[in-house]
Subunit: 227 residues, 2 copies
DNA sequence: CCAAAAGTGTTTTTCCTACACCCATGT
DNA sequence: ACATGGGTGTAGGAAAAACACTTTTGG
């Protein structure tokens, strides 16, 4: 395929990814260490990088998550969030970034993926520092979208492990919504939504009554009536 | 500002706009005549064009709506929809398009804007023909987003005129949702949402009892409980 | 036997739905 | 006077919210 005339191609395209997980009932986001004086010395940012000529933005997002975020993208759910095209969002040159919202269950990550490296690390969302570029904006946007989509879809199935107890699922909802729910009403609602399949196993080894395990009947993100 | 190295700038950036209005209780979209043999001879598409170096994608979208769609963009509400980056979505060269959802009240359009020209015209959404590029996809996406956002926000305020009767507002909801609503329940709901201000005027000149006029209390798009 | 989390129903209140008649005006 | 759309209330059913105790296991 031909390229358009050079003067029309003034911008480079980037993909930025806000990858969330839940660990110990708290919401974390994957960040990179950024050190790009003079504008961004010793700061942090979302995993991001340039889109290549033979890639869609989404392909680039998953590749970048692997290459820079050190996360096996085959475990990760990803969906487009928004495109950020402010002329000066990167002070060095014109960069238009397509941002992605990504989710991964903590339990599917390898111990290397779980641990922090010199380049990438997991950060509690509620304690996130100021980020480079417009990544604060992107992160807020992603967090807001996540909270809102959780309420009328089964998107949460992409951030909890394959098998879970109802209490664990409830805790995930609570982390994301930032409010506590009533146990009995929560179970009634889940029962009505009819999206969970009970397994024949129980969560054992805890110093308490063993809880029945469930999984989402469909791996797809389904639109539901409001939780 | 500097430009990035030439080889990284393989794509051009475009903005495409799905502009909707309601006319005579039916939903219309603004289309352009497209005649670009060999790939797209004698067809139609959404208003679209290239983003310029000193513009954000949104600025480009409003400019294109004016220049190509012949619509005064100051009357138009616009919000980002999604970015389409399929490698071959334009067969001539790599084009990444940021798509916008736009709304305008039919009543605020001038008679020139209301009428069709050689370049641009209004098309009933339910009778929309096959479109060039991936604009079918974009249009379906925009229509779906519009239907869904109408149900839990006051987005509809951007497609109805400043002043309207409750019956007119109900008709707008019905056009967008494709189903009829109960008059008394609709009025009760609107009353509860508490987003409308009754005016001291009535719609006169019609061969029936004059109806009280209302306007949206806030020009902002507010999140509401589900209609 | 004690600590810890699992599991389970009922009542009250709120919201949703269905439904039919009189009113004010223009012709 | 009549045709046209404007405007209003109620009753029944469904869903949401509030609320506390018994069960099962591991230590």
């Amino acid at each position: 395929m031909q390229r358009a005339p050079e003067h029309l191609r003034f911008a480079v395209l980037a993909a930025d990814v806000a990858l969330f997980t839940i660990r110990d009932k708290k919401l974390y986001v994957r960040l990179m260490r950024v050190n790009r004086p003079p504008h961004f010395p010793d700061t942090s940012g979302l995993p991001g990088g340039l889109i290549r000529e033979d890639e869609t933005a989404e392909m680039a997002a998953t590749r970048i998550l692997a290459e820079r975020g050190h996360i096996d993208a085959s475990k990760v759910y990803i969906e487009q969030l928004a495109t950020f095209s402010e002329v000066t969002r990167d002070p060095r040159s014109r960069v238009v970034a397509v941002a992605y919202l990504a989710l991964v269950p903590w339990e599917t990550l390898s111990s290397i993926e779980q641990s922090d490296s010199d380049e990438a690390f997991w950060q509690l969302v509620e304690r996130a520092p100021k980020l480079a570029y417009d990544h604060d904006h992107v992160l807020r946007n992603a967090h807001e979208r996540l909270r809102s989509r959780i309420s009328y879809s089964t998107l949460i199935c992409k951030i909890v492990p394959k098998e879970f107890t109802l209490s664990e699922l409830q805790a995930a909802y609570e982390s994301l919504r930032g409010e506590f729910l009533d146990k009995r009403n929560f179970r009634k609602k889940m029962d009505m939504l009819d999206v969970l399949t009970p397994l024949k196993k129980k969560r054992t080894g805890v110093r308490a009554r063993p809880a029945l395990l469930y999984r989402f009947t469909s791996p797809k993100v389904l639109i539901t009536p409001q939780l």
